[in-house]
């Protein structure tokens, strides 16, 4: 005999909802054909994906949902043209332009007022939206998960696949929730939250998982801080990182160019309200972190997991190769280590709020005379808005170079770099060997820590600084 049961929908995680709402069909072998709402290309790989698609006689299925930007190798010195410091770089720009035109997709070109780092401009333009799937041939696409989207980095063949079919063939990852309880202390930032997670749980800690960031300290972040947090989900080896949308998300998106308007906006916001993990939804893995105990972080080695609190030292048991590369010794204190250069930029920390916080600490001061310091705004819009507030003047007067927007010295493509072997403190996301130039030793940290260190000429704790 059958018993009566109450048929309530099963509690589902935010990830489950994002996934299920895009599942087109089950594939033999257990995979899913997942619908892709947005594709974003950049000039480093965009032309090869578009050309390879065209050579195979295939078309972009829906060009209105595919975008491209010149950000990765475009020059960031004032008065820039298609010419790049990277040898042969110009070809990537001109071919991407031609291929984008032929495919009928929207390109934000070198001197377009909307140009900027892909993960900075996509939110600025309302291209990423809550509940959408967005892919780009760039591993930091997870940045855009801050909006309650499922956004992740793919390879070129997958980009071709997404453009030709509007789908991708995927195996469903496991779900993880990382909850940051409590409130951050003063001078501690979202960059320190994600670096703490990776330092504690390893650069492979999120492997095979889609990670929802939750908890009081995450809810308290503004949208730009949330993007910084989600940006490094890929350094945690997660497929993606994301945060349930809330009123801050909607306030950020309303009125952006590609965001819905009028009746569609009302319908969309109703739909987006469902995008939360249900109360009893089960996660495959859960991690708790007490946000109030986090302190500013600094990396010492050549993986983001090689990070400690700013008052800490290189671990006693650190492996040899990263230490040899970084020219550090076990138990050596990080604070006080002399630096040659400082970099503020990249899709991790180059938005207006980052630059505002950095400039508040820099105001009226000058950086150590031996430090080469560069600030590269994340987008042309960020640059304009910062200039309207006089932030550029503060950076310049303190001794920083002020650049056009782009990825710039976040990574070395053969053009401009810091001096070989130099030690750089940087707001970027990767401290890999030679990431910022031949033999360059990168220490990743928050903008606050970069500013404090640039002023002191040595790695320094930002909590000792007063706003200018």
């Amino acid at each position: 005999m059958r018993k009566w049961r109450l048929f309530l929908p099963e509690p589902t995680t935010l990830f489950g909802k994002l996934w299920n709402s895009h599942a087109v069909a089950a594939l033999p072998g257990g995979g899913t054909l997942l619908a892709i709402d947005r594709v974003f290309l950049h000039e480093r790989t965009g032309a090869s994906a578009l050309n390879s698609l065209a050579e195979a006689g295939r078309a972009v299925a829906d060009p209105a949902r595919v975008f491209a930007v010149t950000d990765h190798i475009v020059d960031t010195r004032p008065g820039r043209t298609d010419k790049t410091l990277m040898p042969g770089g110009q070809v990537f720009i001109t071919e991407t332009r031609a291929a984008a035109k032929a495919a009928g997709i929207t390109l934000f070109d070198v001197n377009d007022s909307d140009q900027g780092i892909v993960h900075v401009i996509s939110p600025e333009l309302g291209i990423v939206l809550p509940g959408c799937t967005l892919v780009a041939p760039d591993s930091h696409t997870c940045t855009q998960g801050a909006f309650g989207a499922l956004a992740w980095g793919i390879g070129s063949s997958e980009a071709e696949h997404a453009m030709a079919t509007g789908t991708l063939r995927l195996n469903k990852p496991k779900s993880m929730r990382v909850r940051f309880s409590g409130a951050l202390a003063k001078g501690v930032t979202p960059k320190d939250m994600i670096m703490t997670l990776i330092a504690r749980h390893g650069a492979a800690g999120g492997k095979g998982h889609a990670v929802e960031f939750a908890g009081q300290a995450v809810q308290a972040l503004d949208m730009e801080g949330r993007m910084t947090l989600c940006n490094m989900a890929t350094e945690f080896s997660a497929m993606s990182g994301f945060i349930a949308p809330d009123t801050k998300t909607l306030a950020y998106l309303e009125g952006r160019r590609y965001a819905p308007t009028g009746e569609n906006w009302d319908r969309a916001t109703q739909n987006w309200r469902q995008l939360v993990s249900d109360a009893n939804a089960a996660f495959d893995t859960e991690i708790e972190i007490d946000a109030s105990a986090i302190i500013p972080m600094i990396s010492w080695g050549t993986s983001p997991e090689h990070s400690v609190g700013i008052s800490g030292a290189v671990p006693d048991n650190a492996s040899e190769r990263p230490l040899e590369y970084m020219a550090l010794k076990p138990k050596q204190k990080l604070a006080g280590t002399p630096i040659d250069a400082a970099f503020i930029g990249s899709c991790t920390n180059s938005r207006l709020s980052d630059l505002r916080r950095a400039s508040a600490l820099l105001k009226g001061k000058t950086i150590a005379s031996h430090v080469k310091a560069i600030c590269v705004p994340g987008s042309s819009r960020v640059k304009r808005e910062a200039e309207a507030e006089g932030i550029d003047a503060i950076f310049r007067e303190a001794g920083f170079e002020w650049r056009e927007s782009g990825c710039s010295m976040c990574f070395y493509a053969g053009g401009e770099s810091f001096d070989a072997g130099s030690r750089v403190i940087s707001t970027t996301n990767r401290n890999f060997e030679s990431r910022q130039g031949p033999s360059v030793k990168t220490h990743i940290a928050s903008p606050e820590t970069v500013v404090a260190s640039a002023l002191a000429g040595v790695i320094a704790d930002p909590r000792t600084l007063q706003d200018g």
């Binding site: 072998g29 050309n51 760039d138 071709e160 030709a164 739909n271 493509a413």
Partner: protein, 205 residues
């Protein structure tokens, strides 16, 4: 369409370091054209040549060891292929002549790129990799049986999902497979467009 992968016998080249990232496999400065070829010269450039941007082989690096000149298999360390999602890393490996990488774990984007380009990413544990490296003799990979055989006494099986296996075995192109489902996709999009019209830019909003 990639060359089908069924069995492969080759002396594996040991490159057993953790976190070999895609910048190491192909440095960004070596990606000189917008095509998928001309990358083999830049494979492992930072490790393989004595100077950045140079072409003088560093005899200390295993790729330059004549003993492994015909290797089609790499024995790698954990988290192989992490870092940038650039598919050039896989194109460079393929162009150089590698058909398989055996490692304790792979970065997912890299493993997906391998499959799409006819390279087998096979996961076995680190101890087994040490045994194979020590033996320093040819191994046989049988994809259908999902085994790696060193000799009569020693073989290991590796996991691979069914679709990746089928794509490698038959050299199938994923786009063709999905385009066969065009009707399913169209039906799904029509229903979705009614639910989420704001997703369909430039169309009947």
């Amino acid at each position: 369409m990639a060359e089908p992968f069924t069995t492969l016998t080759s002396l594996p080249m040991p490159l057993i370091r953790g976190n070999i990232d895609t910048d190491q496999i192909i440095p960004s400065r070596e990606m000189k054209s917008t095509g998928k070829t001309g990358l083999a010269d830049g494979l492992f450039a930072g490790l393989r040549y004595t100077a950045i941007g140079g072409r003088d082989p560093d005899s200390g690096f295993v790729l330059n060891d004549p003993h492994y000149a015909d290797s089609q298999i790499i024995l790698g360390g954990a988290n192989f292929g992490c870092g940038s999602s650039r598919e050039h890393a896989v194109w460079a490996l393929a162009e150089y002549g590698f058909r398989a990488v055996i490692a304790p774990s792979f970065a997912p984007i890299f493993a997906g790129n391998c499959v799409r380009n006819g390279i087998l990413p096979a996961v076995i544990d680190a101890d087994a990799i040490t045994v194979i490296a020590k033996a320093n003799s040819p191994i046989t990979i049988d994809l259908r049986a999902q085994t790696i055989r060193l000799d009569d006494d020693q073989n290991w099986s590796f996991p691979i999902d069914e679709e990746a296996k089928a794509m490698l075995l038959e050299g199938l192109d994923a786009i063709d497979l999905s385009l066969k489902m065009a009707a399913d996709i169209a039906t799904w999009q029509e229903a979705d467009r009614a639910k989420r019209p704001w997703i369909y830019l430039g169309a009947k909003q």
